[in-house]
């Protein structure tokens, strides 16, 4: 029942066009790690975006601001340079996911074009290479409306549902649970971040020992429709 969170070292700097799944499998092998059945491979989006070429160059601060505006499909709030915006997938985060950290000077990393698809493609590669049943989660670091500090969340998912649905489950006294939908992939993303760090080059972690429901899921399942959203 104990859960292990295993950092995967040795990924190195990822360049556009690299086969990231192969890079990760190589790093696992070099570290003496095997993928086991029902492992979850958590990958920070930054290396996914770099491999897919989802980066942009800027020469001035005005150009950097323009990239942020271009990536946003809607802006929720602005304060100074901070822009809380909606991404193409519907995620709400700072700067529409555009980030200047851990990338060459003069470049920014964008969100992958379709992070669920990125996760799916990696999962297929990992499963073919290992003959195990796996899940893949692509993560980013988001702020929260009412709490200081940031946490990692899922922006791409493959192989498992994004939400663990407890509807119909009863407690010891036979009462239906009030907590019915747990964003389990966000909890996994946060757990993985604990071994990754922000400045260290550990963009991949393995979650081992979690009992998860099989099935198709997408990180976009976590997007609350504007009609249900009380806080836009």
């Amino acid at each position: 029942m104990t859960l292990s969170i295993i950092p995967v070292p040795g990924i190195g700097e990822v360049q556009a066009g690299m086969d990231l799944a192969m890079v990760i499998l190589g790093a696992l092998e070099a570290a003496g790690l095997d993928l086991e059945d029902h492992d979850i491979v958590v990958v920070t989006h930054k290396v996914v975006s770099k491999a897919e070429g989802a980066v942009a160059s800027y020469g001035s601060d005005a150009e950097y601001q323009a990239i942020k505006e271009r990536e946003a499909t809607a802006v929720i709030r602005r304060r100074g340079d901070l822009m809380i915006a909606v991404t193409r997938q519907g995620f709400i985060c700072a700067n529409a996911g555009v980030d200047r950290s851990n990338v060459k000077p003069g470049q920014v990393v964008l969100h992958p074009r379709d992070p669920d698809r990125s996760a799916h493609r990696m999962r297929v590669r990992f499963e073919l290479a290992t003959d195990k049943q796996l899940a893949v989660i692509v993560t980013d670091t988001f702020g929260r409306a009412w709490r200081r500090g940031l946490t990692d969340v899922a922006i791409g998912v493959s192989g498992m549902p994004a939400i663990h649905d407890y509807r119909g489950t009863t407690d010891t006294w036979g009462r239906e649970l009030e907590v019915t939908e747990v964003a389990v992939v966000d909890e996994i993303a946060s757990a993985a971040d604990l071994v990754m760090g922000k400045a260290d080059a550990v963009p991949v972690a393995i979650i081992r020992g979690l009992s998860w429901q099989e099935g198709e899921g997408r990180a976009t399942d976590l997007v609350r429709s504007p009609g249900e959203d009380l806080f836009r």
Copy 2:
């Protein structure tokens, strides 16, 4: 470097007046588990509240609603029966932390009167009993403004800072990180929830192998002041 998340079984039903720290130490011993130096003991607030008598009885739905109103220091949004409210500590969550699940019919569990203090008292007891340096986190399950599903967060902390501060840290290229404050105790709360489940009686988990900064911290450090809050 591998992190372990170890569920602690055998806590059983907690009653008002019980010495929860002793109950947890007993459950650890019965399960053949020892606390090690730098372990983090994560405890769901529900057992803390029950032990401290932070529960209330209601005979009708109107009385249940009245308890919620009484626990709220301010209301952020309402929709039907759902109330997003500010707790005494300043946390923003559904129903001001009042929950009817996993408690005797006719009762609700409230937040502990001072969850940081609850965490501190347990840490002192654990450290005295084991002669190890430990941290304690008390958790609850909160919704998020813009993402479906709930995740566990910290509402009480002792022994470690709530936020890991990366200010001044630079990336490989010497650029200051844009992500400067990670809510590490919320990530730990979410990680622990992965082994706890919502209907199972596993209200305690041990996080082992995490390298954390020593120092005093409080979960209330995560409260964003109303002036900084763009989303009230």
